[in-house]
Amino acid sequence: MADADRSSGGEDTGMTSTEATEPVLVAENLRKSYGERIAVDGVGFNIGPSETYGLLGPNGAGKTTTISMICGLLVRDGGSVTVDGRAIDVGQASAKGAIGYVPQDLAIYPELTARENLRFFGQLYGIGGRELPKRMDEVLEIIGLADRADERTDQFSGGMKRRLNIGIGLLHRPRLLVLDEPTVGVDPQSRNAILSSVETLSEQGMAILYTTHYMEEAERLCDRVGIIDEGKIRAEGTRRELVGLIGERDRVSLTVSGSAAEAATALRAIDGVDEATPHEGGVTLLVVEARNLLPRILEVATQAGASVGGVEIVEPDLEAVFLHLTGRALRD
């Protein structure tokens, strides 16, 4: 079950894939204030191997502050973070090697080439010898910049810079990859490439923390999502769990000619149809698993003497969940 009270790490999240596995990240009761303003208030969650966890929330919700504390960039007021069993703090240098951090800004050096950027950060993470060129080549292939590797990055497009930004975070093969809104300002093609890369990395076993304010990205990538707003995690769970918070029913709108009332009566008899409301020119239904039930709905409507001219299915999504939880739209 997903609700705000369960956000303080460690509890059952409904993900059977991670239940029996030691979490890669354990963040507990993170707190951060700036004067009177509370930026993060008791945030906590776990991420297991191969799991992609999304922090979904609008700008200013506390996403970046949270991951800044997780990555040891920011001195926290309270709480704890362990990655791969080791405590993370600003001064804990060696433990940070388990994290690959991809900041929201394009954190690359414009005067250096892509390869020089990778080499510098690879060396900072202690990769050396013949291993470093090998990993650089691997990463350049993954991010699709192998043929531009020796060009200065100030000559790159925004999408290329964004991909290199991610590549640097991958170079040392971290246990936990933290991506802070990696697709902001990216063209659709590069965005799709980035999302595909994240999916591939997850399949390869990497734990991923992904912050975004794009609902579609969270739905596509994340095994679990924490909905964050005003520094608190309002709800957490799989997409289905979160949608369940507002009633897990799809809305089906049928455009019909003929008797809508008779059609509605017949449709109510279908197992899985909770409501069928006739109105002028059509019937609106609330159903469980609309896509599975749609053939039966059309068949019954036709048998009831209605001619179906159009169908629209509206599934509840995270946007609706966020609206339900906060009273605001995700992009307000």
Partner: protein, 398 residues
Amino acid sequence: MRAALLIAAKDLRERLRDRTALIVAVIAPFGLAAILGTVIPSGDGSLDLRYAIADADGSPVSTAFLEGPLAGLSDAGIAEITPVDGADAARAAVDDDEADAAFLIPAGFGEASRGTAAAEIELITRADASIAGQIGQSVAEQFAAELDAVRLSVVAAVAAGGVPPDPDEIARLASSAAEASSEPPPIVVEVASTEVAEVDSRTYYAASMAIFFLFFTASFGPLSLLNERRQGTLARLVAAPIHPWAIVLGKSLGSFILGIVATGVLVVASTLILGARWGDPFGVAVLVLAAVTAASGITGLVTTLARTEQQADGLNSIVAVTLAVLGGTFIPLSQAPEILGQIGLITPHAWFLDGLDELAVPASGIGAVLLPTGVLLLIGLVTGAIGLVRARRLVVTR
């Protein structure tokens, strides 16, 4: 330390690709030093004296004056000696600025040196050539003193019943007396004393421009910290498995190395191309190291007082120009009011230039720059320590 070196190397690579850094670190100071050193005369810092001499005597004694002390000045490259015909020509040479001073040796000078009357050499100087007058007077008086001693000895010998010596013998005795003196010839002492005061203008402007621009070069490291914070790479550095101090040290080290290399290039280039004379290489190296330390410390501290890169850039520029003006970078403090000379002692610029003046003394070495070096290091270490602590606060966000 490895991480600090990596960051320093990365910063240097970035700086070398940024042509503005090359301009600020080397081209601008060298160009300005070349222009100022050429256009602005050396003043009293460089001796290039011109003497006319009218020898109406032509005796062995007057010849001894010409071939002795005056030839010594000429051989030392201090003065150009031009014989002229008669006293009027000598006066005209001085009046027409063809000579800074003139020696008039009257007819009978050699003869007088054998008798009881004093032998006189007249020195004509211009009011605006006091150095030439002082040196000329010193040379003439010294020769006269030596000659007088010989003459009195001769007179005493004659009075005792001896035979008056030949004038050639008197001249030989006078020269021998001067050479035999255990004290160095006064003129040599005077010239050396003049060179202690200041280096020549080419060296002066090469040095002053070097330290002036050093403050801009040294600010690259601290400024790049703010730059990295703005562009997001600082967060990436902090996220790496390195200690925050490594970032601060790496930034400081990068600009420190750049400062040393840039100043070293300026020293060599100004020596080879402009003819600057910096003095003992080891002493210069120590002085440069200390100056770079001071500049790095001050710029590091000033930069951390700012919130943004632009603010820091502005603050550094104000501090660099103010210290340069007070420190005698544009106008030598020796030519400024005394109070300015006292105020200038709070600036690294004044101590650096003072150290170079010390090194201009012949045969001086590192011992001559111990005080300026110590002061520069003290300034650098105190301001640098505060700056490093403040810089760490920029790295570790609270």
